[in-house]
């Protein structure tokens, strides 16, 4: 069986005036179905660039990236949008819900771009909100929800399209410790009960401890890739 995520010698450079900056300098990583991986590193280590590539928001300068068996490193922008829609669910640090739009409509959104009928959309969005325990708040606007609730709406949005991979970029960065642990419990449940593959970027050790595998980045390289013993 092929890996769900497989990168081969990925390089990403940025032009900073007259010199090339290597944000990623040959990163090879394989992630299997159902894994829960935390990616750690200080800022500037390349972990965010790596997540953008994994999330198909960007393409590598060189190297290959296979997602679910598809070589996505050379796809067009429109094809990448389709891949993001079907294979990936995003959870961001700043929640990134669309303001002045109800929780339900926010969760519906990925299905709009997938082309699902309104009736089915609403049904599935309600189900997803039920999973994160927000079925009673589905008509609330984001600013009427607490930070933890907003992040749960974002999680519902990430899982509603049945994407195999969930990418969480510092999902607890804007939350207090207690809420952080609650949100992390959701990730654990998604991983264990729904068998979602979760890729989590964080720089907090206690958050990374929820993952089964921890990958450390420094200066555009993977410096450590270990199984979490806890």
């Amino acid at each position: 069986m092929t890996s769900l995520i497989k990168t081969e010698n990925i390089v990403k450079t940025y032009n900073t005036g007259d010199s090339l900056f290597y944000a990623l300098n040959g990163v090879s990583l394989s992630v299997e179905y159902g894994e829960f991986v935390a990616i750690m590193g200080s800022s500037g280590s390349g972990k965010s660039t790596f997540m953008n590539l994994i999330g198909c928001l960007d393409v590598p300068t060189s190297g290959q990236y296979f997602l679910d068996g598809i070589d996505v490193s050379k796809l067009s922008k429109d094809k990448l949008a389709d891949i993001r829609n079907l294979k990936l669910g995003f959870v961001f640090q700043g929640f990134n819900l669309i303001s002045r739009t109800s929780a339900l409509e926010n969760v519906e959104m990925p299905m709009i771009y997938k082309g699902i009928e309104p009736k089915e959309r609403i049904e599935r969005a309600k189900e997803a909100l039920k999973i994160v325990g927000l079925e009673k708040k589905m008509y609330n606007l984001p600013n009427q929800l607490s930070g933890g609730q907003q992040q749960r709406v974002a999680i519902a949005r990430a899982i509603v399209n049945d994407a195999p991979v969930i990418l969480a970029d510092e999902p607890t960065g804007n939350l207090d410790t207690k809420t952080s642990y609650e949100v992390m419990d959701f990730f654990v449940r998604l991983n264990e009960e729904q068998h979602k593959t979760i890729m989590l970027v964080t720089h907090e050790q206690d958050i990374a401890d929820y993952a089964k595998r921890v990958v450390h980045f420094r200066d555009g390289h993977i410096i450590k890739d270990e199984v979490n013993k806890k």
């Binding site: 953008n52 999330g55 928001l57 960007d58 922008k77 429109d78 949008a81 389709d82 993001r84 829609n85 079907l86 995003f90 961001f92 990134n96 819900l97 669309i98 303001s99 002045r100 739009t101 959104m109 990925p110 709009i112 771009y113 997938k114 082309g115 309104p118 949005r157 399209n161």
Partner: protein
């Protein structure tokens, strides 16, 4: 690919969320569309009243006036030298096959007295055929006859305005009025004809037999002189042949050599009216185009707001892209939003335009005509403006890089 219904819902919600801004943005289009409608309505109203006047004046008319000759190298204006005679008129009637009827005119302004009332009006000396030429009729009483003309009887026909001013409620028929102290028997009252194309009251007139005018009231420089001759051609197509026939006949009668210029001018009144109608049409187009400039300005307003909106919603665009929106989805979303804004403005503008046109008609007494196509045109134009000016902002939105957009605060 995203379905239209969902995109429409997103657009409608965005417009509703920013109510005040949406209304102000549409205002430019509202003003543009309504002013296009008003301007076109006024222009077309003028055009139509012109056409009505044309019908009132009588159709297929030619007017022969004396003059417009070069005499001794000095060009004289039309009518400056009298050359036309009553027998010219009779001959035109007799010899020109394209001519239906002829009415010679000899006119002057005189004071008319009945009892203790008096009124100054234009006296037209003419023949009974004037009724055919001018498509006119007698309201009551009778017209004067050919005998009246041959006998130079002192009979007259009153225009409605004159009859009202001299007689009030009395029946003028059979009464005697005095024109310059001379008694004239009123034989009839003319039908009302209203204003002419030039704004003159055509009912403020008195008709008398031409011979009476020549011999007794207005006088002539030479025997049989008439001021001008009105000619009605048999039909629309005969107007130009009639013109040629009259020209040939009159040149012969006036004994003009081949090198001499005409000592008369033939004016094609239908043509003149057509020209006036044409200029009214140009006026309407001009007014419409000036108004459409404001529609254009309204479009720029939409573009401005949409550009602001794209910048403001950069984060939203980033989120949408991250969860699977393609560039085309974003473009359609913003395009639909600006289209909706302008069509909203267009709808209100059409309603407002109709109301304001009615207002102009009622309060400024201007002839106004609202054509259905002018409504359709201005509404369609507002949609076009929405798409045209919405395209650039929508295109800008679709070009955003999702990573950059997500980072935007």
């Amino acid at each position: 690919m995203i379905d239209l219904e969902s995109t429409l819902r997103i657009a409608i919600r965005t417009i509703r969320i920013n109510k005040m801004r949406s209304i102000l943005t549409s205002l430019g289009i509202i003003i543009g569309v309504s002013s296009v409608i008003i301007m076109l309505a006024i222009g077309m109203g003028a055009q139509r009243s012109m056409a009505e006047n044309m019908a009132k004046m009588g159709s297929n008319l030619l007017m022969v006036v004396s003059g417009s000759t070069t005499s001794g190298g000095i060009r004289m204006g039309a009518g400056s030298k009298q050359t036309l005679t009553y027998s010219d008129a009779l001959d035109i009637q007799k010899k020109c096959p394209s001519v239906l009827a002829v009415a010679p005119y000899l006119s002057g302004t005189k004071q008319v007295v009945f009892g203790n009332q008096n009124w100054s009006t234009g006296i037209q000396g003419t023949t009974p055929n004037v009724m055919i030429v001018r498509d006119w009729g007698v309201e009551y009483g009778r017209s004067f006859s050919d005998e009246d003309v041959s006998n130079s009887t002192k009979v007259c026909l009153l225009g409605q305005t004159v009859a009202e001013n001299l007689f009030g409620d009395l029946d003028p028929v059979g009464k005697t009025v005095r024109i310059e102290g001379m008694p004239f028997t009123v034989v009839g009252v003319l039908e009302s004809k209203g204003q002419s194309g030039m704004g003159q009251d055509q009912d403020d007139t008195i008709m008398i037999p031409i011979t009476t005018a020549q011999k007794k009231l207005i006088g002539v420089d030479f025997p049989g002189m008439v001021r001008h001759i009105m000619v009605k051609a048999v039909d629309e197509n005969a107007v130009y042949t009639a013109q040629d026939e009259i020209k040939e006949l009159l040149r012969e009668r006036h004994r003009l050599g081949s090198k001499q210029e005409d000592d008369f001018t033939i004016r094609n009144l239908t043509q003149m009216m057509e020209t006036a109608k044409e200029s009214a049409k140009i006026m309407a187009i001009l007014l419409g185009s000036i108004a459409s400039v404001s529609l254009l300005v309204g479009g720029i307003g939409i573009m401005n707001i949409m550009l602001v909106s794209v910048t403001e919603r950069t984060k939203e665009i980033g989120i949408r892209m991250a969860i699977g929106a393609k560039a085309s989805d974003i473009r359609i979303q913003f395009l639909l939003e600006s289209l909706l804004l302008s069509l909203m403005g267009g709808t209100v503008g059409v309603v407002l335009g109709i109301l304001l046109a009615k207002f102009v008609e009622a309060f400024f007494d201007l002839p106004v005509y609202i054509a259905w196509w002018s409504l359709l045109l201005s509404f369609g134009f507002s949609g076009l403006v929405g798409v045209t000016f919405g395209y650039y902002p929508a295109y800008r939105a679709s070009l955003l890089d999702p990573i950059e957009a997500l980072r935007y605060e």
